[in-house]
Symmetry: D2
Subunit: 378 residues, 4 copies
């Protein structure tokens, strides 16, 4: 390779811990460039920092503006094979204009018009939907129609066939989360198109999916099926159960018993009922409720998260940044940035008006590889 074609560019600079700048060093650097080599001593500060210093930055997206643009896209952009989905992704301003909410996570608003279908496909990327507004859409996973309503969480492990259809008379919008950036950077991704049109049998709209009939009972599993590795066999975690679990934790706290993470802070993790572990091998999903007037202790964690404000309002602090947030807003917490939230002032005696946060993160990657760390900040 000629030097001019090499993507490597090395400049000898006079700096502490750097070799003396001499013509010989310059020659050496030209040799490195020609041979596609880069020395550690010019890179170590960036490559091996004392702690994670993410290129991703904390950022907040306002739901109102997101939704307005999604509606406009609903008018202008057809959904169908090729584009596949009317999904509009958060692009973290620190990540060079890529459609990445964080270095590992994709987060998008997906918007479906009345009567529209999104065609069937499958991919190795793990995905989920979390419904912020609306009802009337069914996602059809492996032929099983799964209803979607506000507050429902629908994991979709990699390589399952899936399509969507909107049986309602109104548009619907939800949050899509995937591990697209992660699988992109490590070169893991596979993709395949399915049928262009789903069958009439899949167009029925049952109240509960077949997956819920089999796996949606607390502490019970069917003997008839063995779950597959990679992801949860339960395709809809209905809001009523999530809400009840959070209420129950706060009831325990009021009774003087443990149950909440910290005072006024209830939280659940969505888990695979066949393993008790995360719903997917790369994505963790949780729901946090912070009652009025309560705040969470500042925490630093390896790995990145995306939060959706499901309800309530309050203030959020990520590193040096503090925002006011309200229903529908989305924000990002990069790796090892101190994070805390404070719910709007009010009576802590009731769950009314609590700050409800849906969260997803790449924590399972860190835990599987023994790279996770947590530290209490403040």
């Amino acid at each position: 390779m000629s030097i001019s074609d090499s993507p490597s560019r090395l400049e000898a600079v006079s700096a502490p811990h750097q070799p003396d700048v001499t013509p010989a060093l310059d020659d050496l650097y030209r040799g490195f460039e020609q041979e596609l080599l880069i020395p550690l001593w010019t890179e170590i500060g960036d490559l091996m920092p004392v702690h994670p210093r993410s290129k991703a930055v904390p950022h907040l997206w306002s739901w109102d503006r997101l939704l307005r643009l999604a509606e406009r896209a609903g008018e202008l952009v057809p959904v169908g094979r090729g584009g596949e989905r009317r999904a509009i992704a958060l692009a973290n301003p620190g990540l060079g204009g890529r459609p990445y909410a964080t270095p590992t996570l994709w987060a998008a608003i997906q918007y479906l018009m009345p009567g529209e279908d999104a065609p069937e496909h499958r991919h190795s990327q793990h995905a989920f939907r979390f419904v912020i507004e609306g009802e009337g859409v069914w996602t059809v996973v492996g032929g099983d129609p799964v209803p979607m309503n506000r507050g429902d969480f629908l994991p979709q492990a990699g390589w399952n066939w899936h399509a969507h259809h909107n049986a309602a008379s109104t548009p619907m919008a939800w949050l899509d989360g995937l591990d697209v950036p992660f699988q992109y950077v490590v070169d893991a991704q596979f993709y395949e198109n399915g049928r262009d049109v789903i069958s009439d049998a899949e167009r029925i709209t049952p109240e509960r999916s077949r997956s819920e009939l089999l796996w949606g009972h607390p502490g019970l599993r069917p003997l008839s099926v063995a779950p597959e590795p990679g992801g949860s066999p339960l395709l809809n975690y209905k809001w009523e159960f999530t809400n009840q679990a959070l209420k129950d934790q706060l009831t325990l706290e009021k009774g003087g018993f443990g149950g909440t993470v910290e005072p006024g802070h209830a939280a659940i993790r969505y888990v695979n009922p066949a393993t008790g572990g995360d719903v997917m091998s790369t994505i963790r999903a949780e729901f946090h409720r912070v009652v009025r007037g309560a705040e969470t202790a500042p925490v630093l964690e390896t790995g990145s998260s995306v939060y959706a404000v499901f309800d309530g309002s309050g203030t959020v602090t990520v590193g040096d940044t503090t925002w006011s947030v309200t229903r529908g807003d989305l924000f990002v917490v990069p790796s090892w940035q101190e994070f805390s939230v404070r719910s709007e002032a009010g009576s802590t005696d009731s769950d009314e008006g609590a700050l409800d946060l849906f969260r997803f993160s790449d924590s399972p990657i860190f835990e599987a590889l023994h790279l996770n760390r947590t530290e209490i900040g403040g």
Copy 2:
């Protein structure tokens, strides 16, 4: 040791594959006895059979007669420290008059009179209760009062403090299952007495235990507590969920989808929500529903089971034995005996009158040690 004291007794017999009976052989056998030695060649047929040949035999206990004796015990035998529990155990006729339902499992009727308390203790033996009749008793586990009602399954992992109290105006009877024989034979058991009297705070009678508030939501786990190894953190698997799960499987079958184990045979396993695995490390618990007119395929499995007929009636075949069974009856399936059930004739279109069977077994021991085998019989 003198020969006469030795528990070993060897007799030289003339038989195929046995050494010639000579005075020298007799001398050798006397030497073996003196030195506490036993040769393989006199034992191998019994010790190393072609397949498991359990000393335990199939046996059926009639609920009516059990209950009558339990009631009589209620009048004559006080419950309290020392005897600890008014529990009456099944003694398999093949097991030499020991209180063992199978070589590994203890099964007993426990009977509590109105107002009675059973004192607090803990033991390394894993235990559960399954309520065949009645309501109004609370088992207090680690200070958490857990209600018991017909059809409820209450696992109780080893070394948890527990007591019972009967807040009702009528006696109550339930099935107790433990791994007492297993822990006895391998010498694993520890035991400790707790308080003689539980506190008034534990005498409250909530509808749901604290464990259910934390762990009784499908596919959700609390972030606030880490479960302990050894057993399920969920202390009551309420009948309404079990019943619904079985109904749902039959609904799937009627819709033409998988869901049942075989036609007309729905079944669930009770699992630890923190792991998806068995509720205890030595005991598996399941519930089977066989609709009217249906029958199950004959199966041979390593390991032994105890069944309780929760509802319905039908016939059960274990090895060469067939019984008619009805509500409340208890029976035993020893290791590697062919097993099948047939529900009473009737309309298979409805769940009404189905044969409902609670089962517990020692399967987790076999699976953990890679000793499990299954074979379809017939």
Copy 3:
């Protein structure tokens, strides 16, 4: 069942924590007997003790006397199909004349005459051989001839075909260990006869088995084969490696570094190179070296062990019993009996004359089921 046929026998006795002896109680007990029931209150002291109280007792077998009887059996008892092996088992005096060293473990001397073959069979019972004296026998496992020499440990996971042949001009004796009692009591055992005669190709006598060529390299595994669950793919753990590992630990200790279990006490566990875990799912094997003048701290453990004195001499204490032991002796440590050893006095500076102990135990059963406990005694 008539009362007289019932194996259950209950006697109402006047004792603390027992119900008042009355005719009514007597009637109740007769009812229990007839219905094959046994109440907890008459059994609890034996069944649920404060800590394990094994029926097995500490016992020592002298190698000299064992060997003499084995030699005599060599003259009188042919080896071959039916008896299968010329194996002479230790019968713990507390276990009712059964050929059980402990409630879960079988330990036997196996003795093969020059030129003799033991026919091929397989069984679900896990087995191993440990060579106390001699050389010249090959065990043929799945067609792979494995040499046996003094100090070698040869695990033999369940359901592998195996035969033995003695290519030497002298008899040979070794220790056989199996989980026969455990699999017998839980009814897990399967057995199958193989070929009566092994092929000439298996009669070759290589220095290393094929299993050692594949799996006998430290920290390296072959890419060509996937190991099977249940047991180690390495069929011979040669003495030279065991001895070197123990020497190395003592070298570390002399250099002021950690390495030994306690001063003067080196120990290794034989592990499955494919998992780092125990060589078999029910049996653990270890080798301990206690240098002259050293002693081990008293320990109580759940589970039972059999020890073979490989070399050296000293004193062993199990519970209230103390023995002098010397080369070849075998002894048993029941569950939860305090155990310690003291090596014969002498210079601790050298490994010469150390007390070398081979040990096998049922610990993997306890660990797999979370029933293990350990306590420092003294």
Copy 4:
């Protein structure tokens, strides 16, 4: 954020599966840019390909030229705190001038002059050294001096303190492998400086490290220490064992038995003796020997690898690229590129002149997350 500051740039283009280019669409795209949003329909072809299409390209680095530049760096660049190491990294030409051999792996030549020390540090990045040429350097890990000689493999799990010192009179060069790019992109990395100078006690040069005394015996583990999660406790996998394991596999093949991966292709994986699994949670290391005249079947795998030609010569094909390779050369196989090697022609009857390849890869990441796939190509 003003549009001009946004890193997102969207251009409406007329293309299949793209919405009609209209002023309204253009307005929408401006809105997306302003709000830091990117639609899926403009990105899906790149982001979600049918199979992995790595930015990394196959590339070969010549050992001669690498070594010459490393020697020159030895003269010009001091080793010491700040630069930390005289390491020169391969920069894959497809990865934008970053010092990344593949998207997840760092590979570098490290070069140490006689008498030089590299100062102590630790980092969360997993690392290893593999010695291509020379001897006389000790890496000091947690105070344990570990010798390095040609063919030795030295894993260094994350967060262990380590330093190097060269006790020889000649320079030494080895291959460094780390997961630097992976930990960089997911933001996992931590770093800490240790002592500037190692102690005299660590400057001793034993033949075997303490880790080898404890863990370097086949199928044996010390009872005295519990291994830590994250990486292998064995710090040197000496060449003599690797070489012997490969010879043994070829011996088995010659005897007509399984043992090699395919004809003439022997291979081992370096494993953690405490688990049987990979030496580190993110890096797999293997050694392959292809005898003269043999070739390997083409294979596609998810994940990327770096190979070092340890000895011999032959041709390597990666995707559409074929190179001649010889001793010391390094090359890269990106994810899902078909890979095969052919050893130089010659007698296959002897190991002499075989093509010996050291390989490391990111496969553990894929397996831990259930993202691994393999396909036979050709």
